[in-house]
Structure formats: C-alpha cells, structure tokens
C-alpha cells in the first residue's frame, strides 16, 4: 500500500509540471500572438500609453519573451551576463511562475488587480456546495436507477433508464439549464410563491430561479441537480453495466449457494464490487463537474468558479482563466490521486500488486 502510494506520487509530479507548462505556454502564446489583454480594459477609449504600460507591468505581462512569437519563455538572457552555470541564460518566466505558485501561492492577478487566489477563495465555497449537491444527487439517484435497471436487465424499467439517460446526455446542458430556470424557477416558482401555505424556504429558496444569497444552500439545490443530471446518466449506466456484469459473477453464485438472503447477495456481494468503478468514476467526475459548473453557474448566477472562468473568458482575461484553471487542475490531479488510493482501498487486488 505504502509503495503504491509513493509510486503514484512520483507519477504525479511530472504530470503536474507538464500540465502547468502546457498552461503557461498557452498563456504566453496568447499574449505573443494576440496582443496585450490589458488593452481591452479601456474599451472604445484609447488609453494613454503610459497608463497602459503601468497596468501591464502591474499584471506581469512585461516579460520580453512575450514579444517573441512562439518563445516558450523557459530561459531568458541573464542580466549580468553570467546566468545559470555561466551559460548566459537564467531560468525564465515559466520558472518565475512555478516559483510564484509553489512558494508564494501566487496565481497572478486579474485586470482589476485582484489576486486570483482571492477570487477563487471567494468563489470556491459556492462551487463546493454546488458540487456536493450535484455529486450526492447523481450518486444517490444514479446508483439507485442503475441498480434497479441492472438487476432487471431488459425490463421496461431498464429500458426507461437507458432511454432517459441517453436523452439527458444528448441535450446540451445549457438548454436544459435555461429550460429549468425559466419553467421551474420562474413559472412554477411563481405559482408556489403565490401559495401562502408553502414555506418560504421552498417557494423563495429552493425554487428561486437563480442563486439567492439569503438562501445560500436552498437556492443551490436545483442548479446542483441540473449539474448532476449530466453525470447522473453516466453514473446510472455505469452502475447498470457493472451490476449486470457482477450479477453473473461466480462469487455471486457462491453467495447464493451459501444460502444468503437476496438482499445480502445483492447488497453486500454484488454491490460492493459493482460500485468500485462507479465510485472511481464519481471521484474522477469531480473534475468534470467543475467544468460543467462553468455552464450551470452562469445560467443560475452562482458566484462560483465556473462563472468566474466564463466571465473571464468572455472578457479575454486569460490571466484569470489560466490562473483558475491551473488551480483547478491541481485540484483535479489531487482528486485523481485520492481516487486511485481510494480505489486501492476498495479493491484489495490493486493494493497488493
């Protein structure tokens, strides 16, 4: 177990560095090819060059390598001519950024000169709540539907689950989100709000068409369900397949031959094995759900990470997009690592390899 974890950790390091270099190179290319993003800050008005320059410096877009198209910004000519090992070069912007991230926890600032770490810190509680709701929703409903469908393979119920899940996968999530907001949040919500006997928590909170600061949790339930619905389909199908495979497994037959009750055969012997891939999926899905939050949060006005990324992408603030994505990628990688370890915990065959 210990060795397994260490091996995974060692694999983790090049992945993180590789991912960060990828993101760094993309940002650099962006600036190299399409110019200074600070300019957009001034809109139709042309700013005095001095002001533009000052803001550019503040934002750290002043490195000369950003003027050379295609330069990966790995090295720069050392100012004193000596540089690393007398080569005349020293570590460039990429290493500055790495240093910033790992030693100072500095992911850069946005065009409004707010720290990306602060932006994320403000946004993350909302995204976390949303994610928890989404994952719980997709896990509970998805697994339940998957188990039912899997146990009765080929039945009407199975068919229903299959069709509805494929359908959910096919509808673009933004269409689903918009329809839910307008019909469930506004139309149906207004009907509820017109009824006095319905508690505010339900009518004003849960059925609020958009996130509401007064009901920080209740008003996230519906957005969370929309976010979860995409992976809900996946979870259900994965569970279904997994159950169908395991229900025929020899050890399930053994369990039956042991005279165990049906409940125990399914609940202990089948489910435990079937859920290993599902739980792994749910873990990996955290990353996907974060990405999905980009759409959901925009539609339901949840002030989380996803909305932050969308708004930054729309205004061309690549510094924020990159900063946030870098941070998210670190989170995703960490989550993947944990999932792998969890996998080893759940499946002893991996553990003792």
């Amino acid at each position: 177990m210990g060795r397994y974890v260490i091996r995974r950790l060692l694999q983790f390091i090049p992945t993180v560095l590789g991912t960060m270099f990828l993101l760094h190179y993309i940002t650099s290319l962006a600036i190299q090819f399409s110019g200074n993003p600070v300019r957009a800050l001034f809109g139709d008005r042309t700013p005095p060059p001095a002001l533009l320059q000052a803001i550019t410096e503040r934002l750290g877009y002043g490195d000369p390598c950003l003027d050379r198209k295609g330069d990966p910004c790995l090295w720069r000519a050392a100012e004193d001519g000596g540089g690393l090992l007398g080569s005349g070069y020293e570590l460039g912007l990429f290493f500055d950024r790495l240093h910033g991230i790992f030693f100072n926890f500095d992911f850069g600032i946005n065009l409004r000169q707010q720290e990306v770490t602060d932006l994320v810190a403000n946004a993350i509680p909302f995204t976390l709540k949303l994610l928890v709701i989404a994952i719980v929703f997709e896990a509970v409903v998805g697994i339940a539907a998957g188990v039912l469908a899997g146990l009765r393979g080929g039945s009407f119920l199975d068919y229903m689950v299959k069709i509805s899940t494929v359908f959910v996968i096919s509808v673009p999530i933004f269409v689903l989100g918009l329809v839910v907001r307008e019909f469930v949040g506004v139309k149906f919500g207004n009907v509820l709000r017109g009824q006095d006997w319905i508690p505010d928590l339900i009518s004003v909170g849960v059925f609020s068409p958009v996130f509401k600061p007064d009901y920080p949790l209740a008003s996230l339930i519906i957005p969370g369900m929309v976010l979860g619905s995409v992976s809900l389909a996946t979870t259900a199908r994965l569970t279904r397949t997994s159950i169908m495979e395991n229900v025929r497994a020899d050890y399930v037959r053994t369990a039956k031959a042991k005279g165990l009750t049906n409940k125990r055969v399914i609940g202990v012997h089948t489910l435990r094995n079937s859920l290993i891939p599902v739980i792994t999926f749910l873990g990996v899905d955290i990353g996907a759900a974060m990405a999905g939050a980009v759409v959901t949060e925009t539609i339901f006005n949840v002030p989380g990470i996803g909305r932050l990324v969308t708004m930054s992408a729309r205004t061309g603030e690549s510094s924020v997009v990159i900063g946030v994505v870098t941070m998210l990628v670190l989170v995703v990688l960490l989550a993947n690592l944990l999932v792998d370890i969890l996998y080893a915990v759940l499946d002893p065959r991996i553990r003792y390899e």
């Binding site: 694999q11 090049p14 992945t15 590789g18 991912t19 990828l22 993101l23 993309i26 940002t27 290319l29 962006a30 090819f33 399409s34 299959k162 494929v166 359908f167 996968i169 096919s170 509808v171 673009p172 999530i173 933004f174 269409v175 918009l178 329809v179 307008e182 995409v230 992976s231 389909a233 996946t234 199908r237 994965l238 279904r240 397949t241 997994s242 169908m244 495979e245 891939p277 999926f281 990996v284 899905d285 990353g287 996907a288 759900a289 974060m290 990405a291 999905g292 980009v294 759409v295 990324v309 992408a313 061309g316 690549s318 997009v321 990159i322 994505v325 998210l328 990628v329 995703v332 990688l333």
Partner: protein, 313 residues
C-alpha cells in the same frame, strides 16, 4: 456534455477496452474468432431496430452535411429583415430567424460544420491517439512511461475548462481549430483504450507465436494486435462523434465556439436561446436536430458494443 473523457465510460459501461475484447478467447483461434465476431455482430445489428433507425438518421444528417442542395433549394443567406421571425409554415417550413433568413435551409446548412468538426476531431483522435496507444502498449518501458505521462497531462484538464482555455487563447475559432482542440483534449482516452487492449493481447499465445517465427514488429502490431483493439475503439469513436456534435453547441454557447456568420446548429441554438419563450421553434428545430444526432450516435455506439462484446450476448 460534462466531460468527454468520461463519455466512454458514460455511455459504454465499463472502461471499454480495459480487459481486452475477448479475455476468454482460446489462445489460438484469435483471428477466426474475431472474424465470426464481426459476422455475428452484423447479423445482430441489422435485426436491431434501434440501430437501424439511428443509422438512417445519421445517414440523413450526413447527406445534409455533404449535399445540402438535396434537401433545400433555398439559399440560407438570402435574408431580409422585412420577414424577421416568421412562424413556421407556408414557404418557410421552419419559419425565419431574426434576420429573416429561411430557417429550414439554415438548419440544413448548419449540419455541415457540426459534422465536419465531429468527424475531423474523431478521425484525428483515432489516428494519432490510436497510434500513440499502440506504441505505448506494444513497446512498454520508457516509451510507455513518456506517452502515459503526456496522456495524464492532457487528461488532467477537465474537458470544458480545457476547451475554454485553448479556444480563448487561439481566438481563431473555425471548424479546424475547434476540431483540433477537441482532439487534443480527448486523444488520451482512445490511447488508453488501445494501450490496454494491446497490453492484454500482446501476451496471447498466437501473438507470441507470430513473434517467435520472426514476424516484424510492424506486422505483429497491425496484423495480430490491432484487430483486437478495433471493436472497443469503434464503439468509443461512435459515441464520441455524438459527444463532439454536442460539444460544438456548448462551446458556442460559452462564446468560444464557432462565430457567426458561420452557420451551425450550435450557433443557431445559442443565438436563439434567448427567444425560446417568445418563439420556441427557433430553439426547438436546431435543438431537435442536434439532440437527434447525438442520440443516434450514442444509441449506435450502444448497439455496437452490445453486438461486439460477447459478454452482453
């Protein structure tokens, strides 16, 4: 679409190629077995109404993309603001959009970019991702280590976020760049499938036998190992085609996809989603076509997997 990297598992079920296609096949008759596997699969597929319907739908959409003139004689660029947002009916079967362009011909012509993106991205993904997976699985060792680490790097980018990052940076959003971004973010999935499949089949006896009689690496890879990997790859590719069609729409909605005046379903949906309460058909028609296409691809993939995976017989 939340994440294409999970779409395979999503739709397929277990990691499609994880255990190799036929883990229990007798060591010798691999080739014959796979031959009869394909024949069986074909027999089963033509009897499956879902598969046949899906195929027909895809064919229809494909012909819209390839030969739009077959479907409509109207020019989608013939617009006049005088007939903005007419309801469906009469001369304009699907009505007109806000600029007064015929919506039906718009929808027909809109099939092309969506299909081009999906096909180009999937094709590149299969060729490059497949080759890398083959190399990694076959040679193992440091080749495998390097390729696997690079795969990890790309897999660590959640699909939508990665696409947003790449496309905000590229800023030239056309069919080609979008397809390339989709490819970049998804090739590791297919590479993984192939790699797993190759690893599980390279120790099979008939492969060892081929090596023992001195077959060259290339021949062993392509004649003996690759055929085993084709079934799971085909299943995944079909499903991913659908996901890419949906992804195009989502990216467009987020403002990083195709840009007007290009015509695609994604653009039609995201331009008109704001009108869906007033003039729902503006959203309904492109959305219906899109959902139908995605649905068909996924159902096709499902049927293929059921047919090709003996476990589900």
């Amino acid at each position: 679409m939340s994440d294409l990297t999970s779409a395979g598992t999503a739709v397929g079920g277990g990691p499609v190629g994880a255990g190799g296609p036929l883990p229990d096949q007798p060591a010798t008759g691999g080739r014959e077995r796979s031959a009869s596997l394909w024949a069986d699969a074909r027999r089963q597929l033509v009897r499956d109404p879902v598969f046949v319907l899906s195929c027909l739908y895809i064919l229809a959409v494909g012909s819209m993309a390839a030969f739009p003139k077959l479907w409509t004689g109207q020019d989608p660029r013939d617009c006049t603001t005088d007939r903005s947002r007419l309801s469906p009916g009469g001369e304009h079967v699907f009505g007109t959009d806000i600029l007064g362009c015929d919506y039906y011909s718009h929808a027909i012509y809109g099939a092309r970019p969506s299909m081009i993106i999906a096909i180009m991205a999937t094709g590149t993904m299969i060729i490059i991702g497949g080759s890398l997976g083959l190399l990694a699985g076959y040679y193992g060792g440091w080749v495998d280590t390097i390729i696997s680490r690079v795969m990890d790097v790309f897999l660590s980018l959640p699909f939508l976020l990665g696409a947003i990052v790449f496309l905000t940076v590229i800023k030239r959003q056309n069919e080609f760049t979008i397809a390339m971004v989709l490819f970049l973010l998804t090739w590791p999935v297919i590479a993984r499938i192939i790699r797993g499949s190759v690893i599980s089949s390279k120790d099979l006896d008939y492969v060892q036998a081929a090596k023992a009689v001195g077959a060259r690496n290339g021949r062993v890879m392509f004649r003996h190992i690759l055929p085993n990997a084709i079934a799971p790859m085909l299943v995944y590719a079909t499903i991913v085609l659908g996901s890419f069609v949906a992804a195009e729409a989502t990216l467009t909605y987020l403002g990083v996809g195709l840009q007007p005046p290009a015509q695609s379903w994604g653009i039609m949906i995201s331009t008109h989603q704001v009108y869906f309460l007033e003039d729902p058909w503006l959203l309904l028609f492109p959305c219906g076509l899109l959902v139908g296409t995605v649905l068909s691809f996924i159902l096709m993939g499902d049927a293929l997997r059921d047919a090709l995976d003996p476990k589900f017989r």
